[in-house]
């Protein structure tokens, strides 16, 4: 007679892993990252490396403090995803300590003080971003101009210097104004506040066909990555669809009624971090809604709050605040949107 070890059904181990999920998210971000580096120089790559290093260091320290095994949690990829998403939101030449402060807040406070992987109430990347955005507005608004407009785009050495010394050493013939510039959303906001017409503001060279020059193409590549995640079923379709839908549905009537004071819907979609957020940030399952209808409401809320902040708020873009505010609402939404159970 042969003896066997006791076990529990099912007897087919899941082929999926947390690492696999995070890996696919990173893979899906790759085209957008490459485009970003093309338009704004290699600074973004340095920021990704910096933020990842800080994130992993804080993660390791917190795991040690919480007496958790290091290897499975460092390798699960969640800290790196947080770091990359954060790095994609900040100016490419932001000083190194921006990443340090943000990742410290994201990993230590937003993630581990709430219980680590799977327990964070707020999206860690957005917590880190908002902390530095509010604390260091000066450093966070030093945006570079896209390649087509800039007389000179910083290379690798210049970028490293700028990030670690805090000052950009320019070639003798180039002035700082030719390198940095306001983002399209900035320009729109200040322009509208000054009472200028949208069409007039959009004459500025930083605007492209429907979004910001450069930005619109980066957004397109994020869109491609997002579609990949949808196809792989890594993210739920409800969140990006609802987010983009609410932005289009709310801006279209405003634009039709008064195109002088309201940017066209596609301008909204393809500027700032909207596409990135719709597919990669608002879709974070841990801090978002769990039920299908809840996810639709979550996306609608993100779109609505983003527009409110863009239109009436103190910041040119409001996506990070929108995501964090909806994170707060997620448990309540989930309570009231539970699916009907079979036969009940």
């Amino acid at each position: 007679m042969r003896e066997f070890e006791p076990a529990q059904a099912p007897h087919m181990p899941s082929p999926r892993t947390v690492q696999g999920v995070m890996g696919q998210v990173l893979l899906a971000l790759l085209p957008g990252i490459v485009a970003h580096a093309w338009y704004f120089g290699p600074g973004i790559l340095l920021q990704i490396l910096l933020a990842s290093a800080f994130a992993l260091a804080f993660e390791a320290a917190m795991l040690r403090l919480r007496s958790k095994p290091l290897a499975p949690f460092l390798l699960d990829g969640s800290a790196v995803v947080t770091a990359v998403l954060f790095a994609l939101c900040i100016p490419p030449l932001a000083p190194w300590w921006i990443a340090a402060v943000a990742m410290g807040f994201a990993i230590i406070v937003a993630k581990h003080l709430f219980g680590g992987l799977g327990h964070n109430v707020f999206n860690p990347a957005m917590v880190g971003y908002v902390v530095v955005l509010i604390s260091f507005p000066q450093a966070m608004t030093q945006w570079l101009a896209p390649r087509e407009l800039a007389e000179w785009t910083p290379g690798l050495v210049a970028s490293i210097q700028a990030i670690f010394s805090g000052s950009l050493s320019l070639p003798a013939t180039v002035g700082i104004d030719a390198v940095t510039g306001a983002t399209p959303l900035d320009a729109l906001k200040t322009g509208i506040e000054q009472g200028r017409f949208v069409e007039e503001i959009r004459q500025a060279p930083i605007f492209g066909d429907f979004g910001g020059l450069g930005w619109e193409w980066i957004a397109n590549w994020y869109l491609l990555g997002g579609l990949f995640l949808l196809w792989r079923r890594v993210i739920a379709w409800q969140v990006p669809v609802a987010t983009l839908f609410s932005v289009l549905a709310l801006t279209l009537p405003a634009w039709l009624l008064d195109p002088g004071a309201n940017p066209q819907p596609l301008q909204h979609v393809f500027s700032g971090g909207l596409v990135l957020a719709a597919f990669f940030i608002a879709t974070d399952p841990v801090s978002g809604c769990a039920s299908p209808r809840g996810r639709l409401l979550f996306g609608l809320g993100v779109g609505l709050i983003t527009l409110v902040i863009r239109r009436w708020g103190g910041y040119p873009d409001g996506i990070a605040f929108a995501v964090l505010l909806m994170n707060m609402a997620a448990p309540l939404i989930d309570r009231y949107t539970r699916p009907r159970i079979y036969g009940r």
């Binding site: 066997f4 099912p10 087919m12 999926r16 079923r233 769990a290 159970i341 079979y342």
Partner: protein
């Protein structure tokens, strides 16, 4: 579920299978059935000894009707059904060696009374009791014959077939559904039966239709079962009466679950806590129908069944027609024995089957498959991680539960919340486990939670009863106190009244006396 009128419900169940519907979630799994379908079903050699458990069905165990040393014939009744149980018959001829407690092939691993028969190798039949002219018999008589043959549902739940066939809800039975959707990977016993004996299934289907009073029969098979449709269709044309339809349904696990099959064929959901007969449907397994045919036509009680012996852990995967009571190890031997890297032996499929502690346990009426898995089949890609709420579990859940929420609430021991999230509706199909990137054993948690919620409800009911008893007692005592007080008050009043009247009488007497005096004085 939206409320249907009685007429709409009747229309839906009467046209079951005409239009297919989707059930929520489910998985497209790798089938792995071909490896065991290469050869026809064959008999293994007769084992030396059979261990026949007296509990092989839903309901109470049968009572032994044989004593040690007694000679038994094949098909002889050895265990008599109690209540809602089923009869047990001798699978072959021989001598009863013992009636004793043995571990039984059961998910709980409990021991139970078993009749141990030493086979004499002659396989001598007792007098078969066929039911001639079953079409002339009443449905009740046909069900009684099915009961005599000890037939239970062979799909896995092993509920006595006669009881299920006779169950009635508020609506008349419209359609008999035969379940040929063997949705778990690896298992192919029903597929082989449908290929080799389609006439038995069609004939048994007509008998069950008569026994249930249904108007028509729908046989649901998977669309991946190549030649099965053709052979069943031909058998239905030749042996049927035009009331049998074979329907191919998409191969999505777990569409062979009763509730999912009902939903696929009718778009209706079996109400919570109810049964298909509440909708006007009866669901039986195809193998059960074949067993009914054999019991009616040949007088053969249920003493054997086809068992798939398969997996990377056995030498030659195949299907075997095994006598009930055959030790599992004997069948593995007949299938080429274990391979070197065998790691686990499962009864049933890889999604819902339960693992055996050893291969000495006997084949019972529920044993559809013996799955021997190798180390490579079982190696997980990662250890268990925290839930990241990706929600894939909810996407695949056929009961439309939110396993991720249940997981959190169960770990927090919030049993009220667990109950309201519907843990009881979990059918333990294992879909959530299979897609979980964090490798959380969700079904094991849910099984545990079901027990906890039930015991909580029991405790609460007991506490409620105790509270009601206490309150009733308090009320009774209070009532008694009040009554006593009232009684006292009444008596006091009465006494006072009496005292008052006495005074009045005395006063009257005094007045009368005084009058007498004055009268006397004046007179």
């Amino acid at each position: 579920m939206s409320e249907l009128t009685a007429a709409e419900l009747e229309q839906r169940t009467a046209t079951a299978g005409d239009r297919l519907h989707r059930f929520h979630g489910g998985l497209r799994l790798r089938h792995n059935k071909k490896i065991s379908c290469q050869d026809p079903v064959r008999h293994p050699v007769l084992p030396r000894e059979l261990v026949v458990p007296l509990l092989q069905h839903g309901g109470p165990p049968a009572t032994p009707r044989v004593r040690p040393g007694e000679q038994v014939l094949k098909g002889q009744l050895i265990g008599e059904a109690q209540g809602r149980g089923a009869h047990v018959h001798a699978p072959t001829s021989g001598v009863v060696r013992d009636v004793e407690r043995r571990p039984m092939a059961h998910a709980t691993g409990q021991a139970g009374d078993c009749v141990v028969i030493r086979c004499d190798g002659e396989d001598r039949w007792c007098d078969p009791a066929a039911l001639d002219h079953w079409r002339d018999a009443s449905p009740a008589a046909l069900r009684a014959h099915i009961r005599q043959a000890g037939i239970v549902g062979l799909g896995g739940a092993v509920f006595p077939t006669d009881i299920k066939a006779g169950a009635r809800g508020a609506v008349p039975i419209q359609t008999l559904v035969l379940n040929g959707a063997e949705c778990e990977p690896y298992i192919s016993c029903d597929e082989m039966l449908m290929r080799e004996h389609p006439r038995r299934i069609i004939s048994g289907a007509l008998m069950l239709r008569h026994a249930t009073g249904a108007g028509r029969v729908v046989i649901g098979i998977e669309d991946q079962m190549g030649a099965v449709k053709k052979s069943l269709d031909r058998a239905a044309r030749e042996g049927g009466d035009g009331t049998v339809t074979v329907v191919r349904i998409p191969t999505i696990y777990p569409e062979g679950g009763e509730r999912q099959l009902v939903q696929t064929l009718t778009g209706l959901e079996v109400p919570d806590g109810g049964y298909p007969h509440d909708l006007g449907l009866v669901v039986q397994n195809v193998a059960t129908a074949a067993a009914v045919h054999q019991a009616v036509v040949d007088g053969r009680p249920m003493i054997e069944r086809i068992v798939t012996v398969t997996g990377n852990g056995v030498g030659h995967p195949c299907n075997l027609l095994a006598l009930l009571g055959t030790p599992v190890g004997h069948l593995v031997e007949a299938a080429g024995g274990y391979t070197d890297d065998v790691a686990r032996l499962v009864v049933g499929g890889p999604m819902m089957g339960y693992p055996l502690r050893n291969d000495g346990e006997p084949v019972v009426k529920a044993t559809n498959c013996l799955l021997a898995l190798s180390h490579d089949d079982l190696r997980p890609a990662q250890a268990e991680m925290p839930c990241i709420r990706c929600g894939d579990c909810a996407r695949v859940c056929p009961a439309q539960l939110m396993p991720q929420e249940l997981n959190f609430q169960i770990r927090a021991r919030q049993w009220d919340e667990v109950d309201s999230l519907g843990v009881d509706a979990c059918i333990e199909c294992g879909c959530c486990d299979f897609v979980c990137p964090s490798h959380i054993p969700l079904v094991s948690w849910f099984r545990y939670a079901k027990g906890e919620v039930r015991s909580q409800l029991r405790e609460r009911a007991a506490a409620e009863r105790a509270r009601q008893r206490f309150e009733a007692r308090e009320a009774r005592l209070e009532r008694a106190r009040q009554e006593k007080a009232e009684r006292l008050a009444r008596r006091k009043k009465k006494l006072q009244d009496q005292a008052g009247r006495k005074k009045q009488i005395e006063a009257a007497l005094q007045r009368a006396a005084a009058k007498d005096d004055t009268d006397g004085g004046s007179g």
